[in-house]
Each structure stands twice: as structure tokens, then as C-alpha cells.
């Protein structure tokens, strides 16, 4: 590595020939990494699934190697502290790490206690904690949620809370490991703008591992590109991501060659299996989550649903499969009210890939996981085997058939969940944020699978926050806001002529150019001058 020029400040983070291997693995997850991140720098970490992004993030606050074990060579220094010589809890004063899965990071009884937990552990003054917690919750759009139980929040709201809990500790290095993957476009944008202000004002160092290239282009000062654990580039976004990506590529036909062919037997029931939602209203104690929603979805249709976090998308899906009984209205699947269906009839009509795949994995091998549904349907052995093999081939997990589902990486776990639903060969397939956690290639693969299902006469409804991606594949777009459908029609029409609705629903990001961002007034005093940097 070349010597740093004299005038540069000491680095906030310094990797020196870092190599790391997980216990029981023969392959280096990170391989001979040397780089320096300066204070006040926004660094994006990109790379395909399995490239080592999470490992890099976890090495910043000492989870690697303190928790994970394994073999570590070289060193990581954060503000000149060697991570091996300091406990995770001590490094937490300086490094705030937010992981992807919010369910695994929330444990307190209320939103307020959750966000205050870190400050309390640091021994901050109660008054100071209260004000920094209030600021953090406001910054992520969770004002007024103080007394809510974290487990009752929507997926995106949970992610926002996980982020606020770290922001409230006012770290000097903030690390997001795909921590914004479930945020709506508006929420992600607000958060990034906030982070940029903190960066300019307090020299907050930001490290963000993400698959969202628009975000990288808009906010990153430099980009770390990883591949198979090796550093392949560390430079400005312009140079690392040479070709600019179009914001919407509406009429581009995706490459036909990549679409998997599915041979699904024709089934007279399933072939006319649509969804009929009639004036459905769903409530949780104290909230109306879905309010007077009506829509029909027909076989051979691929519809996308977009909307702000907490707008009721997941709740609508739960009502469609009967997990939640609407307080008014009803849902019909292939003509029958969903509440009247027994489980066999239900799964022939509808399959549901949940927002958090871990909620639907329970078998001890991938094979058994996928076979669970077909076995319950009473199919004979050959048919079960056949379906499992086809489903695993479709998602590309044949080689992992004997592994434990929960031992796989995040994107593979969500593919197992998808395969387990594919094996049901249901008439309607509901996909709740199916591309979350996938790299571009993986996301496209999932979307192509959905298209194949549509071509096989299935009804496909997919929730997503990546409007650009959804638009490429879904021919119909449903926009939700505060529990209601505010727009519903052909994708092209909505994108072209209903921009104000999209904007109001929080699903359009309008990333400003960096020069404009600098001019954003510092309205929020998240950090106190003397609190930061130790």
C-alpha cells in the first residue's frame, strides 16, 4: 500500500492485509484486504451475493472475529483501535453496525426502550438519551411510535427502528449491512440525506453495503467493490460503475434466454384461479391497516404492489391467504371465500412467499422443506420427488438439497422459501418483497421465475420497493397509501401520467446531485458537537 500523503487526516478505518475465514470453512471469506477510509467519508460496499460484504461490515465492530470465531490474519483498526484488542461492546461506542434482518436485532418491549438501550449501556445521561432517541426516531419517520411493541411493526418500520437504535448512540462510524433493503424509496432517500448531513457536519464516517446502485451513485464518495472476498476496486462511483443505469427502462424486454421453462400440469381449478378482493378492511388494535380495498387479479396477470412502509401491503397479502380475518369485506379465491377453505383447498389456490423467509422455513434440510407441501397434498412419492427436483432446479439450489435451510446465506434462504411455494403449484402466487437481499442477477432470476409462472397461467402479485425493477416485469401496478389503493392500472400509464400519486405515496426517490445536497440546511441536530468522536 502506498504511504498516505502528509496532509490527510488519520484514517477512521484501516484494514491492513485482512484475511478472514469462517470456522469450518476452507475458503477465505475476505482475502488480503488493505484499505483506508477517511473520517467523514461515505463508502459503499458492493459485490454479488457471497462476495464478502457482510463479513467486511462485521469485522468493523469486532463481531468478526469475537463472535464468529474462525481465523483472522492482518488487522482492522477503527480510530486507531485494533478490533482484536477490544470487545464488541467497547467498540460499540464508536462503531454502529445495523444488520439486514431487523427481527434479529430488536428485543426490547417498546420502541422507546429499544432505541434507548444503547445509550443506557454507554452510561449516557438519561436526559441526553431521551433527546437523542427522540431525534433518531423522528429522523427515521417513527415519531409517535414510542409505546409500540417492536414485533408489531411492519418490516420496513422494524428496519427503521433498528437504524434509529444505532443512530441514537451517535457513533462516529456508521455501518449499514443492507440495512435499508426494506425501506420505501422516500424513506431511504431521507435517511441517506440525513447521513450525508451528519457526514459533512460531524465527519461521520459511513459504510454502506448495498445492492442499490442508484443509492451508490447518488451518495457514495468512494466504492469498495468485492468479488469472492477480494478487493477488485476502491474508487469513485463514476469510475467503478462506468455505465450509468437508466432510472426506468419501461419497454425493455428482458432477455428471453434466461427465463426458466416450467412444466406445470394443467389443472382445471387452478387455470381459472383469480383473486377477488371486495371492500376489505383489516385492523390491528389501534390501527386500520387496510381500508376498503377492492381489486381483482386474473390468471396470466403479473401485478406489482408498491407503497410506503406501513401502508398495508403485507396485511393485504395476509388477508388474501386468510391468515388475517378482515373486519369487513371478503376475499375470494377461484370463486370461494378464503375463510371457507380448508388448508388443502387453500394451498391449491394460493401460495405465499413471506417478507421474512425465515418465518416459513422449519424443516431440517432444504429437500424436506420443499417436499413439505407436496407431501401434505397427498401426492405419491414419485410426484413429490419430481416437484421438489423441479423447484430446486428452477431456483438453482439443487446442490444445496441436503443442507439446513437456516445455515444458508440470506439470499439462498429466500430462494428456498420460494422453491417451497413453487412446489405447491398454486394458482395464485403472492411474493412479498421477493428480491430483497438479492444482487442484480439474483433479483432478475426471481423476476424471471415469476414471469414464467405468469406465462403458465398463474396469477402473480409481487410487493416491491425497487420500482424500476418491478416496472420491467409487472404489467400492472397497484399503489397503496395509508391502507388504501390510490392508483391501479397498466404500469406504463401509471409511471407516465400518475407521477404525483407515486410521489405522494412515497415510492419515488428523487436523489439530488451532491452539489445540491450540500445546500440542504442542517435542520436536525442529531449529534452534539462534543458527543461525537472519542
Amino acid at each position: 500500500m502506498q504511504a498516505l500523503p502528509e496532509h490527510l487526516p488519520p484514517p477512521a478505518v484501516e484494514f491492513h492485509r485482512l484475511s478472514y475465514r469462517y470456522p469450518g470453512s476452507s475458503r477465505w471469506a475476505l482475502h488480503d484486504l488493505s484499505l483506508r477510509i477517511l473520517p467523514g467519508e461515505f463508502v459503499a460496499v458492493i459485490g454479488p451475493n457471497g462476495a464478502g460484504k457482510s463479513s467486511l461490515c462485521k469485522s468493523l465492530n469486532g463481531i468478526i472475529p469475537h463472535f464468529e470465531g474462525g481465523a483472522l490474519k492482518g488487522s482492522v483498526r477503527v480510530h486507531n483501535r485494533d478490533t482484536r484488542q477490544h470487545e464488541v461492546a467497547d467498540l460499540a461506542r464508536h462503531v454502529g453496525l445495523v444488520l439486514e434482518d431487523p427481527d434479529a436485532q430488536l428485543f426490547a418491549g417498546t420502541v422507546l426502550d429499544e432505541a434507548a438501550f444503547g445509550g443506557e449501556n454507554l452510561g449516557m445521561e438519561p436526559q441526553m438519551i431521551r433527546s437523542s432517541v427522540a431525534r433518531a426516531l423522528r429522523a427515521v419517520g417513527l415519531r409517535g411510535f414510542d409505546e409500540r411493541v417492536p414485533s408489531t411493526l411492519s418490516g420496513g418500520q422494524k428496519q427503521r427502528l433498528a437504524i434509529a437504535s444505532l443512530l441514537a448512540m451517535t457513533p462516529s462510524v456508521l455501518v449499514f449491512d443492507e440495512a435499508t433493503s426494506q425501506l420505501d424509496a422516500e424513506g431511504a432517500q431521507h435517511l441517506m440525506e440525513l447521513v450525508c448531513r451528519l457526514k459533512l457536519r460531524y465527519k461521520l464516517t459511513v459504510v454502506v453495503a448495498t445492492h442499490d446502485m442508484a443509492l451508490v451513485r447518488a451518495y457514495a464518495d468512494r466504492v469498495i467493490a468485492l468479488e469472492a472476498g477480494r478487493l477488485v476496486a476502491f474508487d469513485t462511483p463514476e469510475r467503478v460503475l462506468s455505465a450509468p443505469a437508466p432510472r426506468f427502462s419501461l419497454h425493455r424486454a428482458p432477455g428471453e434466454g434466461t427465463r426458466p421453462t416450467l412444466d406445470i400440469a394443467a389443472d382445471p381449478l387452478i387455470d381459472r384461479c383469480g383473486v377477488d378482493i371486495r371492500s376489505v378492511r383489516c385492523e390491528y388494535p389501534g390501527t386500520v391497516a387496510v381500508d376498503d380495498v377492492s381489486a381483482t387479479f386474473s390468471p396470466g396477470e403479473f401485478a406489482g404492489i408498491v407503497g410506503r412502509n406501513g401502508s398495508g401491503k403485507t396485511t393485504l397479502f395476509k388477508a388474501i391467504v386468510g391468515l388475517l380475518r378482515p373486519v369487513a369485506g371478503e376475499v375470494r379465491l377461484a370463486g370461494r371465500p378464503v375463510q371457507s377453505l380448508d388448508s388443502t383447498d387453500l394451498v391449491r389456490r394460493a401460495g405465499y412467499v413471506q417478507q421474512n423467509p425465515d418465518h416459513q422455513l422449519f424443516a431440517d434440510t432444504v429437500w424436506k422443506e420443499v417436499a413439505f407441501g407436496p407431501v401434505n397434498l397427498g401426492l405419491d412419492r414419485d410426484e413429490v420427488e419430481d416437484r421438489v427436483r423441479r423447484s430446486l432446479d428452477t431456483v438453482g439450489l439443487r446442490d444445496q438439497a441436503n443442507e439446513h435451510p437456516l445455515a444458508l446465506g440470506r439470499s439462498d434462504r429466500s430462494l428456498v422459501a420460494l422453491a417451497s411455494v413453487l412446489a405447491l403449484e398454486s394458482g395464485v402466487i403472492l411474493l412479498d418483497e421477493p428480491t430483497r437481499g438479492h444482487d442484480m442477477a439474483g433479483s432478475r432470476r426471481v423476476m424471471e421465475i415469476a414471469c414464467s409462472l405468469r406465462d403458465a397461467g398463474r396469477t402473480i402479485i409481487a410487493i416491491g420497493h425497487d420500482l424500476g425493477l418491478l416496472c420491467e416485469y409487472a404489467s400492472r401496478l397497484v399503489v397503496m397509501d395509508s391502507g388504501r389503493i390510490v392508483a391501479d392500472g397498466p404500469t406504463g400509464e401509471i409511471i407516465e401520467s400518475r407521477t404525483e400519486v407515486l410521489e405522494a405515496a412515497g415510492v419515488l426517490a428523487t436523489h439530488r446531485a451532491p452539489s445540491e445536497r450540500m445546500a440542504v440546511p442542517f435542520s436536525d441536530d442529531m449529534y452534539d458537537e462534543e458527543q461525537i468522536c472519542g
Partner: protein
């Protein structure tokens, strides 16, 4: 009642637990149960929650009574005079059955007492109370977090059974008792797996937020001992004394 000082809650729960083991007469245990039920309502818990909490214990109760009836030393067999079948002698003793019943009553009192601790109050406040009462912070946090896992487990069960139903498992349809029984392993194994996995991830998340760092811990909650607290505490102590005395006398 959510204003009740958590230290008073801790004291009340401890007193009730002691009562469970101290009392020997069915009448006083029933009286303790009544007290527990009054407290249950007073801290804002509902009857549905009570039923939901006790329901899983049904099987245990039946087993305990049968087992005690069978094995407990005693010499009076249980006779049933059934209208059609005539007199029926069961291989159970009256002494055993009544001992079993007493055991169940005690468990019932405990089961209705413990949720009083955590209901309608933040875990943070309980932890704070326990530390003020002298427990080290880590221990206090572990105890309360463990208590708090009960509702978490319940929601895990709901999640897993929903996922299984959505993949065609009929075990969770109405009135399929035998199938339910057979589906238990399919439920318990993933439950244990997810709990263990969550425990590990939670440990990581907690340390990432400086849990266990050297700093002296602060809390955003302040405890204040007020008149209501004093009254509840005094009433509990008096009741405790009365029940124990009555129990010795009768």
C-alpha cells in the same frame, strides 16, 4: 395501574410465590388464587389472556392428578357411583387425588402471578427495579428477558403453524385433535431451532449496542415510590400475614 412501581410488583410476586409453597390448606390456597386473580385484573390483564395462559396446562393437570392418585401413598380408593354402570372403583386413592389437586392449585397460583410482573410495564423498568433491589444488571436483564420470551414463543408457534398450514398441513384445521398431537414434533423442533438462532443473533445485536461495556449503566426510566405503591405493598404484607396465620390455625 401501570404506574405501579416495579419494585412493588417484584415484592408482590415474591410474596405470592412464597405463599404458594407455605400454605397447606386448600381453602387458603384458593384464597391466594382469588388474590392473584384480583391482582391480574388490577394490572390491566384480561380474562382471555388468563384462559390462553392456562389452557396449555390442562394436559399437565390431568396427568399430575392421575399420577399422584396412582402413586401417592394412601388407602382410600376413589369410588364413582355412575347412574348406568353402577359403582366403579378406580385405581386411584383419594389422598393421592387431593394431593394432586393441591399441586395443581399451587401451579395455578404461580401461573397467574408471574405475568403480573411484566404486564403493562416496560421490561426496562423491571430490570431497573431488580438492579435497585441488588441484583447485578446482567442477571436482572437475563431474568426479565427470559420471562419476556414467553409471549415471543407464543408468537413463534403462531408463525410456524401458519407457515405449515399455508403449505397444506391439515394439523391446524379445526377439530383435528389426533393430527395436532402428531404435528407437535413438527412444531417443537423448528421452535427450538428458531429460538436458539434468535438467541445467538440477539446476543450479537445486544453487544453491538454496548451491552456489557464497562460503563456504569443509566436508565431513561426513573423509579418513584408513591402513595399507591405504599398502599399496595402494605396491603400485600397484611394479606400475606393473614393467610399464613389462618393457614396455621385451620
Amino acid at each position: 395501574m401501570d404506574r405501579l412501581d416495579p419494585r412493588v410488583r417484584v415484592a408482590v410476586v415474591i410474596l405470592m410465590s412464597i405463599l404458594c409453597f407455605l400454605l397447606r390448606h386448600p381453602a387458603t390456597i384458593v384464597a391466594a388464587l382469588v388474590v392473584a386473580l384480583v391482582l391480574w385484573r388490577a394490572v390491566g390483564l384480561g380474562w382471555e389472556e388468563l384462559v390462553a395462559g392456562i389452557r396449555p396446562l390442562r394436559v399437565v393437570f390431568v396427568l399430575v392428578i392421575a399420577a399422584q392418585g396412582f402413586f401417592f401413598p394412601g388407602d382410600t380408593p376413589v369410588r364413582l357411583d355412575l347412574p348406568l354402570l353402577g359403582a366403579l372403583t378406580l385405581p386411584l386413592t383419594v389422598q393421592g387425588v387431593s394431593f394432586g389437586l393441591m399441586l395443581c392449585l399451587r401451579v395455578l397460583v404461580l401461573a397467574t402471578t408471574v405475568p403480573i410482573l411484566t404486564s403493562q410495564t416496560s421490561i426496562d423498568r423491571i430490570v431497573l427495579a431488580l438492579t435497585r433491589l441488588g441484583l447485578p444488571y446482567r442477571a436482572a436483564y437475563t431474568v426479565t428477558t427470559a420471562l419476556n420470551q414467553i409471549p415471543v414463543l407464543r408468537s413463534d408457534i403462531a408463525t410456524i403453524s401458519a407457515a405449515q398450514r399455508l403449505r397444506g398441513s391439515t394439523a391446524f384445521d379445526r377439530g383435528r385433535f389426533l393430527q395436532k398431537l402428531r404435528a407437535y414434533p413438527a412444531l417443537v423442533v423448528p421452535l427450538v431451532m428458531t429460538s436458539m438462532r434468535r438467541a445467538t443473533l440477539m446476543g450479537v445485536a445486544m453487544q453491538s449496542r454496548a451491552f456489557g461495556s464497562g460503563a456504569a449503566r443509566t436508565s431513561i426510566h426513573a423509579l418513584s415510590f408513591r402513595r399507591l405503591d405504599a398502599m399496595v405493598l402494605a396491603a400485600s404484607l397484611v394479606l400475606f400475614g393473614v393467610l399464613v396465620t389462618v393457614d396455621r390455625v385451620i
